[in-house]
């Protein structure tokens, strides 16, 4: 396996090398870097032109220029990175570090979200093939990958940001809005859950009533401006998540796993109570990461202790429940900080930039600020990828459900849930790993546009400005970061493939 990975890295490095050369030659030949100076009326025009030609080494052999760029990059291995300077003499390395941080944050978040949501939707549509739900998701998927990103971005800015910001100033839903929202939720839920006509009716009406009542109560409490969630909420939702995960992974009949999940919820809530002062008073990223690792360890321990014969399943379930609980805890703290955040920033959802300029607030308010800044670009990027992932997952799942071993599993008396979760799902995931890796490259392209629309100073801007000025250094820096990211992503996909499919493990 190690040999295989090293070989892949070697081949990828060669491909990167070839691609970088191609890119370099293309970029320096893509236009005239002196164009703006030629057309200017400045008195020292000639001198400026000579200066720039000197800086960009326009008179040198392109191969020599490429070689020098390459040796500069090679310096990164010895700790002396040199990615060159821009047309204005700014060091590209510094620019790249800044830009890469914000861009990769956006892309990674979108990728993760897209995988989770896309795969989940794909499986649901495969199970409910040819249902109303399937048709709706299919149509939406087509709609989303037919959407011009920049156009959708403008719509999103208008309807998700500006209108929301206007609304949050008041924070009350109109009764008609509530009824419509509740109707939609009820309808979607009955379509997803399916069953007999009567069961669907009960599901639909129940969901409608629940949503309507909750929204009216929230209105009355002015919840949208002063939201609280509370310990009880955390416990309740976490326990519900535990039950759901158990039902999916092991089945509710498996009491050991169920009790393990519930224990995790309770322990998580108690731990929240214990750590709350620390989290509220001295928060830091390090603390959050440390607590997250602790959560994973404790959850796995609970699973191992309860699991018995089903230890592996139990640990999986408690692990997932633990992660969900910790997300809930963070969400609870953030929600508690929402009203003070609104005090600082009255129009919370931003449409421009990756950070609010001159924003001051405590740790949690800054997290909220970052969240509201990244929200719209992420939603946009995710939508397109979700469309792709859900379609691929659906067809892969349908293909798997037709296999002989699924029939064997059914003939043993397994329930549909066990057949799908244990036998079909893992096999269906195998081809999807490849798609995810490919899609990552497409996401980078989408990110360039998204960043431009939302005014982020990320890799997209680096690329666009550089190309406009026929300035190779920043464009090549963009290529370097995205190319390496793509290679890494492919490698991760290979590893995931090997982990999922024992046939190619070595």
């Amino acid at each position: 396996m190690l040999k295989f990975i090293l070989r892949r890295i070697g081949v990828s490095a060669l491909v990167l090398l070839g691609a970088s050369f191609l890119m370099f030659i293309l970029v320096i030949n893509s236009g005239d870097p002196l164009k703006d100076l030629r057309e200017s009326n400045a008195q020292n025009r000639e001198q400026l032109m000579a200066q720039r030609a000197e800086l960009l080494r326009l008179d040198d052999n392109p191969f020599e220029r490429y070689w020098d760029w390459l040796t500069g990059v090679a310096g990164c291995f010895t700790g002396s990175c040199d990615l060159g300077v821009t047309i204005n003499g700014v060091d590209v390395l510094g620019l790249t570090q800044q830009a890469a941080a914000s861009s990769l944050r956006l892309i990674t978040l979108a990728t993760l979200l897209a995988i989770v949501v896309g795969v989940a939707l794909g499986i649901l549509t495969a199970i409910r093939q040819y249902s109303g739900f399937d048709y709706v998701v299919t149509f939406s998927a087509f709609l989303f990958f037919s959407l011009p990103v920049f156009w959708a971005a403008t719509l999103l800015k208008e309807f998700a940001a500006i209108q929301y910001n206007n609304w949050i100033a008041v924070g009350q839903y109109a009764p008609t809005t509530i009824v419509v929202a509740a109707l939609v939720v009820g309808f979607v839920l009955q379509a997803v859950l399916g069953g007999t006509r009567r069961r669907r009716l009960v599901t639909g009406v129940g969901a409608f009533a629940f949503v309507a009542v909750v929204l009216f109560v929230f209105n009355a409490l002015d919840w949208w401006r002063n939201p609280t969630f509370g310990l009880g909420g955390v416990l309740l939702v976490s326990a519900a998540a535990g039950v759901l995960v158990t039902a999916l992974v092991a089945g509710l009949r498996n009491r050991r796993v169920l009790y393990a999940a519930l224990t995790t919820s309770v322990v998580g809530t108690v731990a929240y109570l214990a750590f709350a002062p620390l989290l509220v008073n001295q928060p830091s990223w390090l603390l959050l990461a440390g607590l997250f690792v602790l959560t994973l360890l404790v959850s796995a321990g609970i699973g191992a202790a309860w699991g018995g014969f089903a230890r592996r399943q139990a640990m999986l379930v408690t692990g997932i429940t633990g992660v969900i609980t910790s997300i809930l805890v963070v969400a609870d703290i953030l929600i508690a900080n929402w009203s003070s955040f609104l005090g600082i920033k009255s129009r919370p959802i931003s449409t421009i930039g990756s950070q609010t300029p001159n924003f001051t607030g405590d740790f949690w308010e800054q997290v909220l600020d970052m969240g509201t800044q990244i929200l719209l670009p992420t939603v946009l990027l995710t939508l397109v990828s979700v469309a792709t992932h859900s379609r691929y997952t659906r067809s892969s799942m349908l293909e798997t459900l037709n296999q002989d071993y699924v029939r064997t599993a059914r003939s043993k008396g397994l329930s549909e849930r066990e057949v799908i979760v244990k036998h079909a799902f893992r096999n269906a995931l195998i081809p999807i790993t490849t798609i995810v890796a490919f899609d990552f490259a497409a996401l980078i392209g989408g990110a360039v546009i998204t960043e431009q629309v939302f005014g982020w100073k990320g890799m997209g801007a680096l690329f666009q400005d550089g190309l406009n000025a026929v300035d190779p250094a920043p464009v090549m820096a963009f290529f370097l970061v995205t190319g390496i990211a793509a290679v890494v992503m492919n490698l991760v996909a290979d590893l995931a493939y090997a982990a999922l499919d024992p046939r190619i493990r070595r």
């Binding site: 087509f142 037919s146 920049f150 156009w151 490919f438």
Partner: protein, 332 residues
């Protein structure tokens, strides 16, 4: 795979004979002559069967009609080149503005800030976007098919070289290389742009075709053709590619829809169609600030792009179902 008799209408295993012809056989007299053949006179080729399945796909047919209408309107309304169209207004002329330029009977799509007829402008943009998308689709399909077929059929070093080249193109973000090339070709008009975009978007098709050819070249009918002494060219064109045509057509359709989006994205970033030419992407770029004041300037080109891409995607889906009937189940 493309054999209805082997396709499994229920998805699970059972073995009813669907076609009436499946009886070599059982009842033959000792001499065993004249096995029964289907009695209906009409004989369906694979292509006809595909067409039949395609025409049952309602989404695809609707999309065909909508796209057809759109193409006809886009090209006849303002005419092409020297040929005049039926629409009385010219997209280059500035007319007197009626009010703030909102859509009226005279200007159904409204007028832009300078008073130009927006319908004519959008039609002009649609023409260019369609031309680019279809040219890109054709170029990338040809390149991808040739590269994939050669790599898959000849294996060995041909395959290694071609696939590494493909990897090079895959590892550079498509938008980036398209932007660089688009900028270079910007001066040579839309045809140049279409050509270079086609030259960078063939990679996924090449991989697909290669995979398909790799499996087809081991099929018995290809082996039989080789055993009889058929030349490589004839094997590829007569035996291998016709069987891979499903993959190619579906992929070509989808590459058209992604080409539309790529072109508009590039034009939006300023690396695509250059003035005085206009495309749907440049229209959105030019008027994106007008969203709150003159929303129609924003909506029309976006809806056009969306409609075209959506129609093409649905047609692609219909084709995929038609070529690969495995997942067609009877609805219940």
């Amino acid at each position: 795979m493309s054999d209805i008799r082997n396709s499994n209408p229920g998805g699970e295993d059972y073995e009813p004979q669907i076609s009436a012809s499946g009886t070599d056989a059982v009842g033959l007299a000792a001499g065993g002559s004249a096995a029964p053949l289907p009695t209906e006179d009409k004989s369906y080729s694979q292509g006809q069967l595909v067409a039949r399945r395609f025409f049952r796909h309602r989404g695809a047919i609707t999309s065909m009609i909508v796209l057809g209408l759109l193409v006809v309107v886009a090209f006849t309304s303002i005419g092409v080149g020297p040929i005049p169209g039926w629409w009385p207004k010219d997209y280059t002329l500035q007319y007197d503005k009626i009010g703030d330029g909102a859509p009226t009977w005279e200007y159904p799509f409204g007028q832009d800030t300078g008073g130009k007829d927006y319908f004519a402008l959008v039609m002009r943009g649609t023409q260019f976007s369609l031309i680019i998308a279809f040219s890109v689709g054709i170029v990338s399909t040809i390149v991808g098919t040739v590269v994939g077929a050669l790599a898959g059929f000849y294996r060995g070093w041909v395959e290694s070289v071609l696939m590494r080249v493909t990897d090079v193109f895959i590892i550079i973000p498509l938008l980036a290389v398209a932007a660089v090339l688009g900028r270079m070709a910007g001066d040579s008009g839309i045809w140049g742009l279409a050509l270079v975009l086609g030259l960078v978007t063939w990679t996924s098709l090449a991989r697909l075709v290669r995979g398909e050819v790799l499996s087809l070249r081991e099929r018995d009918f290809v082996l039989a053709a080789r055993a009889v002494g058929t030349g490589a060219w004839r094997i590829i064109t007569r035996h291998v590619l016709p069987s891979a045509v499903g993959v190619i057509i579906v992929s070509a359709t989808l590459s058209i829809s992604s080409a539309i989006l790529l072109e508009t994205s590039l034009s939006y970033l300023g690396f695509g169609v250059q003035p005085p030419d206009t495309s749907l992407g440049t229209l959105i770029h030019d008027y994106q600030a007008a969203f709150s004041t003159r929303p129609w300037l924003f909506w029309w080109p976006g809806i056009m792009i969306l409609t075209i891409a959506l129609c093409v995607n649905f047609i692609g889906d219909g084709l995929r179902d038609a070529f690969d009937p495995r997942q067609n189940r009877t609805k219940d």
